[in-house]
Symmetry: C2
Subunit: 319 residues, 2 copies
DNA sequence: ATTTTGGATGTTACCGATAACATTATTTTG
DNA sequence: CAAAATAATGTTATCGGTAACATCCAAAAT
């Protein structure tokens, strides 16, 4: 591998000049810069990351920590990682996947943490290095997330516009911030339209929502739409309605939230709130690098506006 | 952070002795070793990875490349990564997630590649660094994988023992090695029992297997079991049978292959071939590090014996 | 007793980059 | 036009380790 020195010799300048061309180009004359660029291209120079890390007393490693049990996880996190990795790669940082278990092994320059529950915040607050959290929180940590409230508001609104008369919210039985926000979007829409909210909560498993809908089937007249806080819950509702002989989307609607993977096993596809996960991952990476490189304490949070992914579980137009 | 030097001073020896205690302990007397260990503990010494990397002309980075389109991917890879990362962490290596797109950015010491199709092998063959592939192949590359053939053999055998008379294989329409192996396991069992094999192939989407079963429902008498090459295909078959009024597992059986995630949205849970994915990831990592550290060209391949995960889509005992 | 040998430890140079300082060339200023 | 300020480039020391070589000293061989 070509080194700074090789470039310097070829361009007939000192190492320092080459280093400056890279890090402080404004301090080098254009003539020399051209020479150096030329030489770099000629021998395909790539800086040695380890040497850089050594002088800067950094590691160029970012730890990505998923606190949630990964077995129960959707490919969500994979896409998120792709996004983070993409942002980091561009700056020659590398991403290290850790769990609670091996969190402390080895050093790093910063963290992206996700899957946090309320109990985790105390622990995370003790981290000394720059940090970005994926997933909204109300503890003052910088985060990146989808605008959860806007998502359920939008999709509830869509259901209403398409003529469903009764909107039932099937939420996740967890006291986490994102769940509150999703419920809040639903509640706001119902309030604005002076409708009566109905919220039911279950653990995030399709068979629980399925059982609920089946068990209460006689109470659900046509023109009911189930606004679900996750695609899993939506999938359960969809299956329940079909097994009870309800017609989707003609008489019954179902909406989900996530829009990543489950849709590939649902039929008809669920109309859902789709999140730009790769982009959010990139945002996590960019924000974190920004904090690291500019020694900023807090960079603020970022909400991505969600989009609705049209499936076949909401009718095309009002009857 | 404490350095070698700090330890040396505290133990009243030279840097070199400390370094030797770490890398060539047999060359240091026990007395000194004790002193050094004591000092290391006292100031909580952790070697600086960047400095190590610099002298060894290494990066301590392993690239993990998923060639398959990740959007269509199950959480499979997430678990695999956890395993790889676990193995690498123990040796202070870090894992970098790359795609084809950013594959060439930055240096590394070795690769774990997965999701390879036949066309990819030429390209992969050109890689200069140590390599381990996740997923069986017939091109001579070292790999780690589940014993696919044994998996379908075992589960087909189970279906037979539980009294299903007709075993239909629903495979993936791909000419990849793992698919051939899964079919081979099925074929072998049928041959040994002098039964007539029936193989149908579809792209790996649940609605395709679903449609197939629905469309041909009148041809499937009770006591038929569908041996599927993936959980997705199994899920489709399961839904089809239910929608046609078939009874699972009493009259119809369904088996899958993978056993990671889909089971969380299937009801009843699919009886499937379960793979030890985290362990396989660790094996990938360990083998790769072994190749790197011992400068071995080929370390041979490794097959993990699969296990059957009992769900509710195969009956408990023969009728 | 003296030389030889070999094991244990220390010294030095180096990996590839950068910051801080030193030097040189150029421009500005009194 | 000389002195001072400024800009452009080079030199040196350093980050935290390790390999290669140098030194030292006790045991073995002569």
């Amino acid at each position: 591998m070509a080194t700074l020195n090789d470039v310097a010799k070829l361009a007939n300048v000192s190492k320092m000049t080459v280093s400056r061309v890279i890090n402080h180009p404004e301090k080098v004359t254009d003539d020399l810069k051209q020479l150096v660029y030329q030489a770099m291209r000629e021998i395909d120079y790539h800086p040695n990351v380890a040497a850089k890390a050594l002088v800067n007393n950094s590691t160029r490693i970012i730890k990505f920590c998923v606190l949630e049990d990964i077995d129960t996880t959707e490919p969500y996190y994979m896409n998120l990682m792709i996004g983070i990795a993409r942002a980091l790669d561009a700056q020659q940082y590398s991403l290290q996947l850790v769990t609670r278990r091996n969190f402390d092994i080895g050093n790093c320059d910063g963290y992206v943490v996700t899957g946090m529950r309320k109990d985790d915040f105390e622990w995370v607050g003790k981290l000394k290095k720059p940090l970005v959290i994926f997933g909204e929180n109300r503890f003052g940590f910088d985060y990146v997330d989808t605008n959860n409230k806007a998502g359920t508001f939008m999709i509830s609104n869509l259901a209403l516009k398409r003529g469903y008369k009764r909107l039932i919210f099937i939420g996740m039985d967890s006291r986490e911030s994102f769940e509150y926000s999703r419920e809040a979007g639903y509640l706001q829409l119902l309030q604005e339209n002076q409708m009566l909210p109905e919220i039911h909560r279950f653990d995030n498993h399709s068979h629980l929502s399925q059982k609920f809908v089946v068990d209460n089937w006689d109470k659900f007249e046509p023109d009911t739409c189930f606004i679900c806080a996750s695609d899993r819950l939506a999938l359960g509702a969809e299956r329940a309605i079909e097994s009870c002989g309800g017609l989707i989307p003609k008489d019954y609607g179902v909406t989900g939230f996530d829009g990543v993977f489950l849709n590939q096993v649902a039929f008809p596809q669920i109309t859902t709130v789709k999140q730009a996960i790769v982009e959010m991952g990139m945002a996590c990476g960019d924000r974190l690098l920004d904090k690291i490189m500019n020694h900023v304490d807090s960079a603020g949070s970022l909400m991505f506006e969600p989009q609705i992914s049209m499936g076949g579980t909401i009718r095309d137009a009002a009857k």
